[in-house]
């Protein structure tokens, strides 16, 4: 294991002041980490056990915030709100992950292996950032004239006589939510996969070819295993963003589709901070479990 090696190194360098300077060097990050990550997280955890009324939060130790979240979840006939919400969010996660993975891998592969010059790679890379050139909200609102009942797509389909009535599910549906997610977050998949691919030794590909591998076999047996780190990092990005998102689901789903983020937002809006904190803790736990599972697949630290 890596940690054992470090210990051995430490024994070999017994100079004391180097240790002090190492501690000092680590201090700024540690403090920042403590102040802006650990402390707020601990406060959130503490507040999630507090009581509240209309206008104040009351220091106490109560489990009622958690009880409210899982209210009715024991029933076998009707699925409770929380399970339903997580189910819908997890489903988005899975679909968006699968689509962005295929797209991201294909685009990154194209950029890394088919585009010859670095200049062209840079230009095409910048093209991938186009979705981020306008604000999130404007971008999402502009889907309406495209996908709406009287939008461009429906007008085109109708004038081509492919349909006689506007297709309703193009907008404010699961479809439009997934579409917007893919449009937004494929880039987060492209970057780490591209980064992993660019470091693959080209000689390996040639060797595979020489050994008689077909194009598909090269991808499956050489490129894919060597880009695993990038895939996992990209997956972590996409999964964590989709799990916490409420804006995209809200706007593209016509606010009719529930998301965990939306529930938290409504609760903070009504000053129900302890309830929101409890939801945030549950969400954090779920996301951490997913990330943990992903890191089981690939040991990121080892690969980097």
């Amino acid at each position: 294991m890596a940690s054992v090696e470090y210990l051995e190194q430490a024994k070999q360098t017994p100079v004391r002041h180097r240790r002090v300077s190492a501690w000092l060097q680590a201090t700024p990050l540690t403090l920042t980490f403590l102040l802006f990550f650990i402390v707020p997280l601990v406060i959130t955890l503490i507040v999630s056990f507090w009581d509240f009324n209309e206008y104040q939060i009351i220091p106490a130790f109560t489990l009622k915030n958690y009880a409210a979240i899982f209210d009715g979840c024991g029933s076998s006939t009707d699925v409770c709100v929380t399970f339903k919400t997580y189910w819908s969010t997890l489903r988005f996660c899975a679909i968006v992950w699968a689509v962005t993975l295929v797209l991201g891998f294909a685009i990154a592969y194209f950029l890394a292996f088919h585009v010859r010059t670095t200049a062209m790679q840079t230009v095409l890379f910048l093209v991938c950032t186009i979705p981020f050139w306008t604000s999130n909200v404007i971008r999402m609102i502009s889907w309406i004239p495209l996908l709406g009942r009287n939008g461009l797509v429906n007008q085109a389909l109708m004038s081509a006589h492919l349909v006689d009535r506007p297709i309703e599910w193009l907008l404010y549906s699961n479809f439009s939510v997934v579409l917007a997610f893919v449009h937004l977050y494929t880039f987060f998949m492209i970057v780490p996969i591209f980064n992993a691919m660019i470091r693959i030794d080209r000689a390996l590909l040639e060797a595979a070819r020489d050994a008689g591998a077909s194009g598909w076999q090269v991808i499956r047996e050489v490129v894919l295993p060597l880009s695993k780190t990038g895939i996992v990092i990209g997956s972590i990005f996409v999964v964590t963003i989709v799990m916490g998102d409420f804006l995209t689901v809200g706007v593209m789903g016509g606010q009719q589709i529930a998301s965990v983020g939306k529930i938290i937002q409504v609760q903070t809006g009504y000053l129900q901070f302890p309830a929101a904190a409890a939801n945030a803790i549950i969400l954090l736990a779920v996301v951490l479990m997913i990330v943990w599972a992903l890191t089981r697949v690939v040991d990121i630290r080892k690969e980097l």
Binding site: E54, D71, P145, E168, Q255, Q256
Partner: protein, 429 residues
């Protein structure tokens, strides 16, 4: 209403110093207008004005500075954030413009001071719609958090409401209005006369609902009561059973595909209506106006069950004192003096004191906005943009017709926490 308009209109703040000359001019004008022999301090006074962007017009701040030399610095946030800041950061503003219905949360928190009615010059001219719940002596609907229920305090620093008028007021009214359904008359062939039409299967997939739970559920209740499914004791203060019934009907309607979308934001409601995605939804008067200025037919449809109404007003934090307190009272008095009132009326709102606004309006404007008469000339917005052509009549008619038909007021229910929980269930259904 008016949630999240902060993003729509950024308030500007100018921090330029005042020259001695304009300062004196301002001071003289202020003394003349307010009628109080205030001696202004030599240092510049800046009032931090917390509220939603809707009343925070740059024109009003500019005019007030011209008149008094006092600077207004706007802090535009959303309705929810106004409430949050009053409770959690009461020292971060000098004046707040908030809605009456949130007082049920704000006053027990004890961060706002009572407003001394003796220092409000036009206190007895404040519209009886808000103080007594009457129009021309006729009682109007008082379901929900009607302003008259939360208008007075038992003492200067009391955290309890007084049922009878006292010297201490919670808020001094700025604007109020009544909301109803907005429709696209060009896409709806039959007349719409009742809130029940919001749930009519004829508009399946073409209706929308406001996704601010406290207000959305009241719109829903207006519609459900109109269909005859549920009879409410008080739509603004439902029992748990009533909340359950309401959410049940809503979930059924949602599963049947009645709603195209829910919205939270002023611009979202305008977009839904203008694009034709939605043809019937609860709307705010200025949103209807905005759709119409885009050249699209849109009607603020009066309904037989009446309106859901709201009102907002000025309050001061308890920490406000000395010269800043004097300046804040001066601002409130100036606000009621008519110029600002006329400005707000041209946006489609009603000001807390209507009589003084009249003297700042043309007769034809007054006739259109207040009397419900056909416009004798083209009606223009405060910025000079054409709102209505000559000859049109205001939707819903005159002031007394509109205000007289109020059915309920925006509210915070006693079962608010339960309601929010059930509303989330409805969204997840």
């Amino acid at each position: 209403m008016n949630d999240e308009q902060a993003s729509a209109r950024e308030a500007d703040t100018t921090n330029a110093g005042i020259s001695r000359r304009t300062f004196i001019k301002g001071a003289v004008a202020a003394a003349g207008i307010a009628g109080f022999p205030y001696v202004h301090a030599q240092e510049k006074i800046t009032l931090r004005y917390l509220g939603t962007a809707v009343n925070q017009s740059a024109e009003i701040a500019k005019k007030f500075k011209e008149d008094t030399g006092i600077e207004i610095q706007y802090i535009p946030v959303t309705t929810d954030d106004v409430t949050k800041r009053i409770i959690t950061q009461p020292n971060s503003f000098d004046i707040v413009d908030t809605e009456y219905f949130s007082l049920k949360k704000l006053i027990p928190a004890g961060t706002l001071a009572g407003m001394d009615a003796k220092r409000i010059k036009l206190a007895d001219k404040i519209t009886p719609v808000l103080t007594k719940g009457e129009v021309n002596g006729k009682k109007i609907g008082d379901q929900g958090t009607a302003p008259k229920k939360v208008m007075f305090l038992k003492g200067a620093r009391s955290t309890e409401f007084s049922a009878t008028p006292t010297e201490w007021m919670t808020l001094i009214p700025t604007t109020y209005n009544a909301d109803t359904l907005g429709i696209r008359p060009d896409l709806i062939s039959r007349p719409v006369t009742t809130w029940a039409d919001l749930l009519d299967p004829q508009f399946k997939g073409k209706a929308a609902l406001l996704n601010i739970p406290a207000i959305g559920i009241m719109d829903a209740a207006m519609a459900i009561e109109a269909t005859g499914h549920v009879k409410y004791g008080d739509k603004g203060n439902m029992t748990k059973a009533e909340i359950d019934q309401t959410i049940k009907v809503l979930i059924e309607a949602k599963r049947a595909g009645q709603f195209r979308a829910f919205w939270r934001d002023f611009n979202e409601s305008v977009n839904l209506m203008a694009s034709g995605e939605v043809v019937i939804q609860s709307m705010w008067s200025p949103a209807v106006t905005k759709v119409r200025t885009m050249g699209i037919a849109c009607k603020f449809q009066p309904l037989k069950e009446g309106y859901r109404s709201w009102a907002s007003g000025f309050g001061f934090p308890r920490s406000l004192q000395g010269k800043k307190l004097d300046a804040a009272y001066e601002f409130v008095n100036w606000f009621q003096d008519g110029w600002a009132g006329a400005y707000l009326m041209r946006q489609g709102y009603y000001p807390g004191v209507t009589e003084t606004a009249k003297s700042h309006m043309q007769a034809y404007e007054w006739d259109y906005w207040m009397e419900g008469k056909p416009a004798a000339q083209d009606i223009k917005a405060p910025d000079g943009q054409l709102l209505e052509k000559a000859g049109t009549v205001r939707d819903g008619g005159s002031y007394s017709q509109r205000m007289g038909a109020i059915a309920c007021w925006n509210a915070v229910m006693d079962e608010n926490i339960y309601m929010v929980q059930k509303w989330n269930e409805f969204i997840a259904a």
